[in-house]
Amino acid sequence: MLTNYFTRALFIAFSTSLLALTGCAQPIEPWVKPYERQNLADPIMRTNRHPIANMHIAHVYEARESARGAEGTGGGGCGCN
């Protein structure tokens, strides 16, 4: 009985893996079409809507905090004393 369960589980695992592999073999198509991106293209969605302001606040934080990097703007400089 135990062997049967084990064989069945093995069969299900094998079938699932095969299906998954077959699925993966299909190329993934871009799922959001260009004509569906008007919301993302709206100016209010731009994270860098005000680049000069973003550069300033990044500089303020870099001068007052130890963390740096990955902000998306060039850091550096001083005014740190």
């Binding site: 260009p34 000069i52 606040i57 902000e71």
Partner: protein, 404 residues
């Protein structure tokens, strides 16, 4: 009924029906044409990579808090030289007058000016954008020269953008009042990023950046304090000593979401750690809401928290207590909270210069800093038992932007 069993209809009715059918066909084909046009416009704007539009920004900035007042102007200019090349220039001035707590405890208030200039060039080839910029930051006692290179590429039906960047900075450190003092440091940065459109309303981005410093990383003016029973005050001071290297790694995860009533929600989370044993996290949530066609409101809340550097202490037990010594509050254990408000007014075309689109913005941030292991030595209290330090700052940016 005719021979085919269809109802007989008068000639005018047939003409009317044909006209109606033609109109319906015409409307349908016009609708199809409009759909095709919209599709083409979005295809072109989102599939073919394009350089950002020409713009000029003029800004006044101000930081006021913790005994420091920093303000000045900044200008950013960006112009396409062709469809594939854009040039940019940035000029920024900080006028600083400082009487911060750590300056007041061991020195006197000072004022200075910092000027920063940047020149950049961007080149677009197919779906790849390359950007090169050089930058100089100059003040009486600090000169930084840096070069920055970035490359980004749109792929996977333009649902994905990959980017890589490198930067190098060479710094010269001096000490006012000491002509013999001159030190150097270098900084290397490498960064990578991926941004991905997930749904028609949601996009996310993952950015990582590693920064390596070497050379003189101290502040040449700052001191640490230690218990010194040989003097009446019971406290002695000596210069800070930092390691000559620092390596850090940051990971930032961002999400942008378009709300159904035309508003935008942004979420950022960043984790930071470095070889000085500082761990930091910050999380920011912002919301942008347009009112009509002329006003945009932005609200922001950000929380930041960090642990202290392994060689930091508010009060050392004796002189030369360890190899490395720091009492810089930016290296202590602290957190800060920012509340921000911004308003942008899109100036109607009839009031614009040469029909150029322009806007005026005002942003205000209120930041509160709470230090968990940095005491205020100017306050009343026994040595090492003074109240913990904290302060708040007002940060203002007022700017005018024109697109031409």
């Amino acid at each position: 009924m005719n021979q085919l069993g269809e109802p007989k209809v008068p000639g005018e009715v047939v003409v009317a029906v044909i006209n109606k059918a033609n109109k319906a066909n015409y409307a349908k084909s016009r609708q199809s044409f409009l759909c095709l046009l919209i599709w083409l416009v979005f295809s072109l704007s989102l599939q073919a990579a394009v350089l950002e539009e020409d713009r000029a920004d003029v800004l006044y900035h101000s930081y006021d808090g913790g005994g420091m007042k920093i303000d000045g102007p900044a200008i950013l200019l960006r112009k396409k030289a062709s469809e594939s090349v854009a040039l940019s220039a940035y000029y920024y001035v900080d006028t600083i007058s400082s009487a911060s707590v750590d300056v007041l405890s061991t020195a006197s208030a000072y004022s200075e000016e910092r000027q920063e200039g940047q020149l950049g060039i961007e080149y677009l080839h197919d779906k790849t954008t390359m950007a090169l910029s050089i930058r100089q930051s100059d003040e009486d006692d600090y000169l930084a020269n840096s070069v920055n290179f970035n490359v980004s590429h749109d792929t996977f039906g333009d649902l994905t953008n990959l980017s890589l960047g490198l930067a190098f900075s060479d710094n010269e450190i001096r000490r006012n009042g000491d002509d013999l003092f001159e030190e150097q440091s270098q900084q290397y940065r490498i960064r990578a990023g991926i941004s991905q459109i997930l749904t028609k309303n949601l996009s996310i981005a993952l950015n990582i950046e590693s920064v390596a410093d070497e050379g003189y990383l101290n502040n040449p003016y700052r001191t640490v304090r230690y218990i010194d029973s040989s003097v009446p005050a019971g406290v002695g001071y000596q210069s800070e000593v930092y390691p000559n290297t620092r390596n850090s790694f940051s990971t930032k995860l961002s999400a942008s979401y378009y709300l159904p009533y035309r508003a935008a929600l942004f979420l950022h989370y960043r984790h930071f750690s470095d070889s000085w044993k500082i761990d930091a996290n910050d999380i920011e949530l912002s919301y942008r809401h347009p009112f009509g066609k002329t006003v945009e409101l932005e609200l922001k809340v950000r929380y930041y928290q960090q642990t202290q550097a392994s060689f930091y202490s508010d009060l050392f037990s004796h002189q030369n207590a360890q190899n490395f010594l720091a009492r810089d509050k930016e290296l202590s254990d602290f957190d800060d909270l920012t509340l921000g408000l911004g308003v942008t007014y899109l100036i109607p075309k009839q009031f614009s210069i040469s029909d150029w689109r322009s806007e005026v913005s005002l942003q205000w941030d209120y930041i509160t800093f709470n230090y968990n292991n940095f005491r205020d030595p100017t306050a009343e209290g026994a040595l090492g038992e003074e109240p913990l330090y904290g302060f708040s700052a007002h940060v203002i940016r007022a700017f005018f932007s024109v697109y031409f």
